[in-house]
Structures are given as structure tokens and as C-alpha cells.
């Protein structure tokens, strides 16, 4: 697992599970793991109490997203066996005090920030889950195109035609030969988001669908791909921007930031 989180565990404590849970927490705007992004500054476990220090790229990172991440981190920690209490800290973030007080107390955003408009963050989260769906699907489409599948073939594929062998996607159409078709992780991430959005995951369901779960015609595929591609570029560019900002904080923690 690629991470460089300073961990402070009791003697003999196996931190594998807690790090795996943290790895699954995403920056909703970037659709990347907070662990991989380097947002987890420190992790400490003592007597069933987990304490995580988040370090976001700037003290001004949007409060709504900061809240979502802090809340998700706390929930993830509480699913770990033996962890009975979880505390998330936000360091020098401009709204650290308010977010920490609310999240660590299990109170919703709307209560912590009354009058900030949107109230519930559910809609915001869904918007970015849907963007992430496009981003993940674009990488799959890119792999399928690069391994020679035509638009007509891509649109005809069923979920049951795709499987994973080691780190590779294998596409096997009924009566056809297996074709290695890109990175298994790309397929698994796409299927995971598909499930989160409640889209059909039965073997007979089309592999490539739109956000309503409807199949695409070969004619529609190109325009769909062009849209997905722009969403992916936007998310990756933002992630890149955040990483650049964060690397500066890592390099020189005393710098004004």
C-alpha cells in the first residue's frame, strides 16, 4: 500500500486493517484516496482510540469537502475492529475548530455551519460520485480502445464478458477468444462506483452504460467518450494542483501556507 503516514501504534498492534480502511476514504472532489493523496498527516492508536491528523493542501480548502473527508475518515476508523473512539483533527485549516467539534461529535454539516446554504452535503457528494463514474469509465474505455475493441464491440459487451486475471482485464465474448484488455484496477474501480450508484451489476448487464444505467449505441459512444474524457482531465488536473500545493507543505512545514 503506497503511503508514508507516520503511525504511532501500541506495541504489537497490526495496523493493516486501519490503513486499509483509511485507504478507501476518498477526496470526493478528486476521486482519489486521501491516503494516496498524502492528506493523512499522522495516525495514532491508543487503548481503542484512533486519532488522525488530516493535512489538506491549503488552510483554505473548501470547508464542505473538508467536512466530508473528516466525516468519512471518522466513520472508516470506527469500522475497524477494536476501535471504539475516533478523533479527526484538521491542523491549521481555517475552519478546523468548527469541523472537528461537529465531526468528532457526530453532528451533521448543516448543524455545524448553519446558514451556509446547501444544508445537507448529500447532493454535493452525489454530484462528485457521478463525475467519478465518468472518470473511472473513461479509463476503462481508453483501455478497451487501446486493446483493439471497436465501438460496436464495446457497446455489445456484457459485464459477464469481463473478468480479472492477475492485474489484467480479460474480455471474452461468447464463442470468442480471451483478449487481455488493460488494467484490472481500472475495471474494479469502475464496477465499484457503478455499485455505489445503484446501477445494475448482473452478468447480463451492459458493461458500458450511461449514468441512468442505459446502454450506449456505437454512434453515441464517441460523444459519450469525449464527455467522460473531459471529466477525467478536470479531476486529474485538480488532483495534480492539490498535490503540488501539498508537496510544498511537506517540503517546508514552516513556510506560510
Amino acid at each position: 500500500m503506497p503511503h508514508n503516514v507516520p503511525c504511532d501504534f501500541p506495541p504489537g498492534y497490526d495496523g493493516t486493517e486501519i490503513l486499509q480502511r483509511l485507504e478507501r476514504v476518498l477526496d470526493p472532489e478528486l476521486d482519489e484516496s486521501v491516503l494516496h493523496l498524502g492528506f493523512v498527516g499522522a495516525l495514532r492508536v491508543r487503548a481503542g482510540h484512533a486519532d488522525v491528523a488530516l493535512q489538506l493542501p491549503t488552510a483554505w480548502c473548501a470547508v464542505n469537502f473538508a467536512y466530508l473527508m473528516a466525516e468519512d475518515v471518522r466513520h472508516a476508523l470506527l469500522t475497524v475492529e477494536g476501535i471504539r473512539r475516533a478523533t479527526v483533527r484538521l491542523g491549521d485549516h481555517c475552519a478546523a475548530a468548527e469541523i472537528e467539534a461537529a465531526v468528532n461529535d457526530g453532528r451533521p454539516f448543516a448543524e455545524a455551519f448553519p446558514g451556509e446554504g446547501a444544508g445537507s452535503l448529500a447532493a454535493l457528494r452525489l454530484t462528485f460520485q457521478r463525475k467519478g463514474f465518468f472518470g473511472r469509465q473513461e479509463r476503462l474505455l481508453r483501455d478497451l480502445r487501446a486493446t483493439g475493441h471497436s465501438p460496436a464491440t464495446i457497446c455489445a459487451l456484457r459485464l459477464g464478458d469481463a473478468s480479472v486475471r492477475n492485474d489484467t482485464i480479460v474480455i471474452r465474448r461468447p464463442g470468442g477468444v480471451p483478449v487481455e484488455s488493460g488494467s484490472a484496477e481500472v475495471l474494479l474501480r469502475y464496477l465499484e462506483r457503478r455499485a455505489e450508484l445503484g446501477l445494475d451489476r448482473s452478468p447480463a448487464a451492459p458493461l458500458i452504460v450511461d449514468l441512468d444505467g442505459a446502454p450506449l449505441s456505437a454512434e453515441r459512444l464517441e460523444a459519450h467518450y469525449q464527455t467522460a474524457r473531459t471529466v477525467r482531465v478536470a479531476m486529474e488536473a485538480n488532483g495534480s494542483f492539490c498535490r503540488a500545493l501539498l508537496s510544498l507543505r511537506d517540503a517546508n512545514p514552516a513556510a506560510p501556507a
Partner: protein, 340 residues
């Protein structure tokens, strides 16, 4: 003016600042953390040798600006994107009045942006009219995420925003720069969301809307809107800075913008002093779109396209005749010294 293989490229920096973030001007702790956030943008994406000390970054003054833009930075004209932030800075961050000090000295070098805040409602109308009468305002810069009296932002399609846009149009304004960029401090209202531009652009077809920072981190939403609305343009500041540290993403962003908007709607901006035009323009001119992106998107960043992006597109929006303006600028104080 940037000269490439004997070709002159007229440069308009569509987004630059003449700010005062000196500690004496900080009204609250937010004045400090605002400029520190800008400084983080500056130091993380600039080439190491271009990073300034923090105190210079807080207030650099007129002589430094003139050198960085016009003497060393290839810029012919700069667009002063006034940003007020009175809740953070006692005298404002760079109000039109502060900016007009430098415009008065070099009147042909700058396009000056004024602004309005629809939350002032009726009470702000007279002040807006006075600003338009008393200052040589060329365009407007709107900052939808600005805090005011407990409000954390507003939207371009709010009823009072429409009244001000109509008034601005009546008073001769053509170009509206809208800040839609990296989330600095919008709370849940998500005040940098770009969809309000769609409504305003449809309802004010005579106005041009230049979306600063191409809506990053909402590049995708911006592209859908700009592809549909003929009067929506891309302001490239922030995106430009990727050319150094993240050239691949820069290429992907430019390829997407060329794909959805075409070469006539992209406008250079440095966001000076966050980034300096000299290195941005040198790296931009040296940059070639990677072959795979050219083929995938069926676009290219040719010299002709670069010329449009660096100045011609913005000149067209502001009705500037490049040849005539070049002649005028060659005779002003800066131009004469450059020639000498």
C-alpha cells in the same frame, strides 16, 4: 511583444493584479491567510528560481510590476482585475481606485476592471454609476464568492445581479470577467460553481463572459457551457501555470479547451503576481502539444493559435486594433525606453 522567428505576437495579460497585502492592510486574520494561500499557489507552481520572498509578494509596488510585465515579461497591455475583499483588507486588496493609480500613469497599458456587488441592491446603484463616471472602467470583474455581511457569495443569475448587468450594458460595458477558480473559501454554497454563467450568458447575449481560471476545478462544467454559449470565453490564468510543473496536464487542458471552444475563445492571463508573465510566456511559446493529444483531439497549438491566445482574442473583445495600439504603445514612456 513576443518575437518568435521574426513574427511579432501582441500580448494582453488578461488577468493581473496590483495588490496591497501588506500586514498593515490586513483587517482580520483572513487578510493574512488569503495572501498566504496565494503565496502557496505561487511557490508550489512557479519554477524555483522565480519564487519571491513572502514580504515582496505582499506588496511589490509599481516599479516591479512595470518591469515584470512590460520590460521583461513581453506584455503589451494588462487587464487589472480589481478584487476588493474589504472584509479582509482595510483599504481593499486591489480595488479599482487602487488600480487606477497605475493606470493613470500608463493609460494605454491597462484595461481597468470595475465591479458591482448585487447584495448592495438599490443602495449600490448610485455608487456603481459614480464608479463608471469617475473612473476609466473598461470591463467588470465579478467575484461571486466574496464574503459580505455574513453572506458567503452570490450568483450571476440573482435578480439584482441581472439589474446590475443590464445597467452595466446600458453604460457601455461589453466584457465581464468572472472569477471561477480554485476553491479558496466558498462554503457549502459552492460559490465558484459555474452554472450561473450559463443563465447570464443566455440572457445577456450582447455581453461577453470571460470565465477566469477556466472554472478550475470545474473545467468540465465550464467546457459544456462555453461550447454552447457563443459569448463565453476562457481566461487561462492558473491553467497557464501548469505549463511548468505539469506539462502533460497543461496539454490535456489546452487540448480540451481547443476541442470544445476552439482557438478564438481562449485568452492568456498570468494572474500576476501569483505567476509572472515572463516565464509563463517563454514556456508557453516553447511548448508543443504532444503528438498523441493532437491525434486524439484533432487540435493543435500552432503559432497562429498561440498568437490568438496571447493577445488577439482579448484585443477583439475590447475592440483594440493591434497595429494601431502597437504604434501608440511604442511612443509611451515604457515603449520608448524599451526601444532605447
Amino acid at each position: 511583444m513576443y518575437t518568435h522567428d521574426g513574427h511579432d505576437l501582441f500580448v494582453i495579460d488578461g488577468h493581473m493584479h496590483f495588490w496591497d497585502a501588506n500586514p498593515e492592510n490586513w483587517r482580520t486574520k483572513y487578510g493574512e491567510s488569503w495572501i498566504k494561500c496565494f503565496y502557496a499557489f505561487h511557490s508550489s507552481l512557479s519554477p524555483a528560481e522565480e519564487v519571491w520572498p513572502f514580504d515582496k509578494f505582499c506588496r511589490y509596488g509599481e516599479a516591479v510590476l512595470v518591469d515584470d510585465l512590460f520590460r521583461n515579461g513581453y506584455v503589451d497591455m494588462g487587464t487589472l482585475n480589481s478584487t476588493y475583499l474589504y472584509e479582509f483588507y482595510k483599504n481593499g486588496f486591489n480595488s479599482h481606485a487602487q488600480n487606477n493609480v497605475i493606470k493613470t500613469k500608463y493609460p494605454n497599458r491597462f484595461l481597468l476592471c470595475g465591479s458591482f456587488d448585487p447584495r448592495d441592491e438599490e443602495a449600490g446603484v448610485d455608487a456603481f454609476r459614480s464608479m463608471m463616471a469617475d473612473y476609466p472602467i473598461n470591463g467588470l470583474k465579478l467575484y461571486t464568492a466574496e464574503w459580505k455581511d455574513g453572506s458567503r457569495g452570490w450568483r450571476l443569475n440573482d435578480p439584482w445581479a441581472y439589474k446590475y448587468l443590464a445597467l452595466a450594458q446600458e453604460l457601455g460595458i461589453k466584457n465581464i470577467h468572472v472569477h471561477k477558480g480554485p476553491t479558496v473559501y466558498p462554503l457549502s454554497a459552492d460559490a465558484f460553481d459555474v452554472h450561473d454563467v450559463d443563465y447570464a450568458a443566455t440572457d445577456f447575449p450582447e455581453l461577453n463572459f470571460i470565465v477566469e481560471h477556466v472554472g478550475l476545478p470545474r473545467l468540465d462544467d465550464f467546457c459544456w457551457i462555453a461550447a454552447q454559449e457563443s459569448n463565453v470565453y476562457a481566461g487561462l490564468s492558473v491553467a497557464m501555470a501548469f505549463v511548468h510543473l505539469r506539462p502533460r496536464y497543461f496539454g490535456e487542458i489546452i487540448a480540451n479547451l481547443l476541442f470544445w471552444l476552439g482557438p478564438d475563445k481562449l485568452c492568456f492571463g498570468s494572474d500576476y503576481a501569483i505567476w509572472s508573465p515572463k516565464w509563463l510566456i517563454e514556456k508557453f511559446m516553447a511548448y508543443q502539444l504532444p503528438e498523441d493529444l493532437k491525434q486524439e483531439y484533432h487540435v493543435d497549438l500552432t503559432l497562429d493559435v498561440k498568437r490568438k491566445i496571447l493577445g488577439e482574442n482579448m484585443a477583439r473583445l475590447y475592440g483594440i486594433d493591434v497595429a494601431a495600439q502597437t504604434a501608440i504603445l511604442s511612443r509611451d514612456g515604457i515603449g520608448a525606453r524599451l526601444a532605447g
